[in-house]
């Protein structure tokens, strides 16, 4: 039984999405413990990749493909868990991530998403060019506690402030921690718009989210 968990772990480490899905289906078909498969397989795999990333042995394609394999495979088991009415697997926190309105840069956002996923957070990526409404609708739907907004242009940075204004207007500012990032942003800017956090790199974003949810 533990052999398949090892296989899942290896599939995640190899970034093999197809295999990660196939093994999830096998777990269900064989009636194995879903939570155990998640924790000893998918989570274990991504933790190992996260560790090699930290030591500089793994590179972005390794981490991002592993995050994708984990997300898709684990998604199948989670859906099955929900269908069976079982207890949800505990994640480290839910985060809605997107690039603000008027901005289509997404490489940095994708990296932040993958690294947060690899660190055990549940990340909902709503894509590029997104209005405050879209961030909030998703956060509301999935019960997220962190909203993360990316901006790469001096001309779209102010949309990060508008997102915070929008939360205030709706009277739900306290419901979420808002973090921002992207090339032209800075701690000074985050202070100005009263964001809950800013960091320069995706690695630091993991530390920041852990702190905010502690």
């Amino acid at each position: 039984m533990s052999i398949i968990f090892d296989e899942i772990k290896e599939a995640v480490i190899d970034g093999d999405e197809d295999l990660a899905v196939e093994l999830a289906e096998k777990v269900i078909a064989e009636g194995l413990d879903l939570v155990e498969a998640i924790e000893k397989g998918y989570i274990k795999g991504i933790e190992e990749v996260g560790a090699s990333w930290k030591t500089g042995e793994a590179f972005l394609p390794d981490v991002m493909m592993a995050a994708d394999a984990m997300k898709t495979g684990m998604g199948i088991l989670e859906a099955e868990l929900a269908a069976q009415g079982g207890k949800e697997h505990e994640d480290k926190g839910k985060i809605v991530l997107g690039t603000v309105e008027g901005d289509i840069h997404d490489i940095g956002k994708n990296i932040v998403g993958a690294l947060l996923t690899a660190a055990g957070f549940k990340v909902y990526d709503i894509g590029i060019d997104q209005k405050p409404e879209a961030f909030v609708a998703k956060a509301d739907e999935v019960g997220a506690t962190i909203i993360a907004a990316s901006s790469l242009l001096t001309t779209t940075m102010r949309a990060q402030g508008e997102l915070i204004e929008y939360l205030k207007e709706k009277g739900i500012r306290d419901k979420y921690k808002v973090i921002i990032g992207g090339g032209p942003t800075s701690q000074k800017w985050a202070n100005e718009i009263k964001a809950d956090g800013w960091v320069e790199t995706a690695d630091e974003a993991i530390v920041l989210c852990k702190e905010l949810l502690a």
Binding site: F59, L60, P61, I107, G108, I111, T154, P184, A202
Partner: protein, 474 residues
Amino acid sequence: MLPKYDILTDEQIQTIHDNTMRILQEVGVEFSYEPAIEIFRKHGQKVDGHRVYFDREFVEEMVEGAPSEFTLHARNPEHNLICGGNNTIFMPGYGAPFIHDVDGNRRNATIQDYDNFVKLAGASKNLHMTGGNVVEPQDVPDETRHMSMMYSHITNSDKCFMGSASGYEKAKDSIEITALLHGGLDVIKENPALVCLVNSVTPLKFDDRMLGGLMAYAEAGQATIIASLVMSGSTGPATIAGALSVQNAEVLAGITLGQCINPGTPVIYGSTSAITDMASGALAIGNPECALFISASAQLARFYGVPSRGGGGLTDSKIVDAQSGYESMMTLFAASATGINFVLHSAGILQYYMAMSFEKFMQDDEIAGMVSRYIKGIDMTEDKLAFDVISKVGPGGHYLTQKHTRKNFKVEFYKPSLSDRQSYDGWANNKLTANQRGNQKWQDVVENYVSPVLDPDVKQKIDEYIAKRSKELL
């Protein structure tokens, strides 16, 4: 002038071309801008939603119609520039939001910084244009920022400059103001005076804003750089040949659109492709792979018979140091030796286009001077072969007191302005690094700079236009 160096064989160029045509035919390019889709439909291209699938012959024919060179007109005709052929045009960096100071501290760029860079480019013997969007001046409102920037180029120098391409409206303002400077829209339609930068959205897309800019420039007969920045490994394949093909497909699609709008309108083949640093995801520009993209792009543009844009003094360093020097020299040298015509980002760039630095500007100005001297090559005329003076001095003796020497050294030797060639003691008096020397030097140049006089009538018209538009926009 040195012959331009080719890095690809004829077969290799043909291979890239074939791969590109296959991408354009089978994968297609997405255009979000409706008028563009309409144009392609009218020209009989297969359109599916926003995706356009191109006919090979159509693209080849359209690109063929683009001029191989054109003259860019300056307020002072002495600064007119031929874009194309064997010419190399240097100018400052473009678009950076930050300034890094001499100690490596970072701050937001301002309009004062903008003016200073334009003055430095105006004063430089090595830079031919004052560029465009030399920094992002964050202390002026973004609704009217494009006009503030134009105004700086127009009032601080009489060299050629660039205009905005962020949407049809801003492009129009740039064109109108330039027309006022040169005496009318019809004058600049005949004699192009403005260049703008239109970027594809890699991979294989073009967005509304940029195409609006392209429309306005093509209609007015002003020049457009159609540029692609493939981040090899993230926004494009991790192989140079693959990324080059994606870039080529995008640029050719853009050039084709420009030629459909206004046949014969001047366009420039642009590349800023480079690689992704796989440990952080950041763009990395100061490397041999980037130099290969630059070199191949120069050659591809020659193959298509259009002027090229690429390269610059490119670095990932955060301050003027050994890294900024060796990386910038590699990329500016590659651009010049392989025949890039229009070298945006020649001076000032630090940290993969995120910052400009005045000290770096002085470093790159020096590199530009050295590279220009190198590509000028060796003069082989009778007098330069120097037989007479060789025979006069004969074996032994020296040349320091020869007329031939006195007459020739100034033309043959590049005179450095930043490099230190002093004795040890001379240097040891202050022990200044290139960074520190650059810091003193740029301040001197700005302090002593005198802006060329602008005709008061023309200035008034431009002032009025900007005042009127600002009222509408703010």
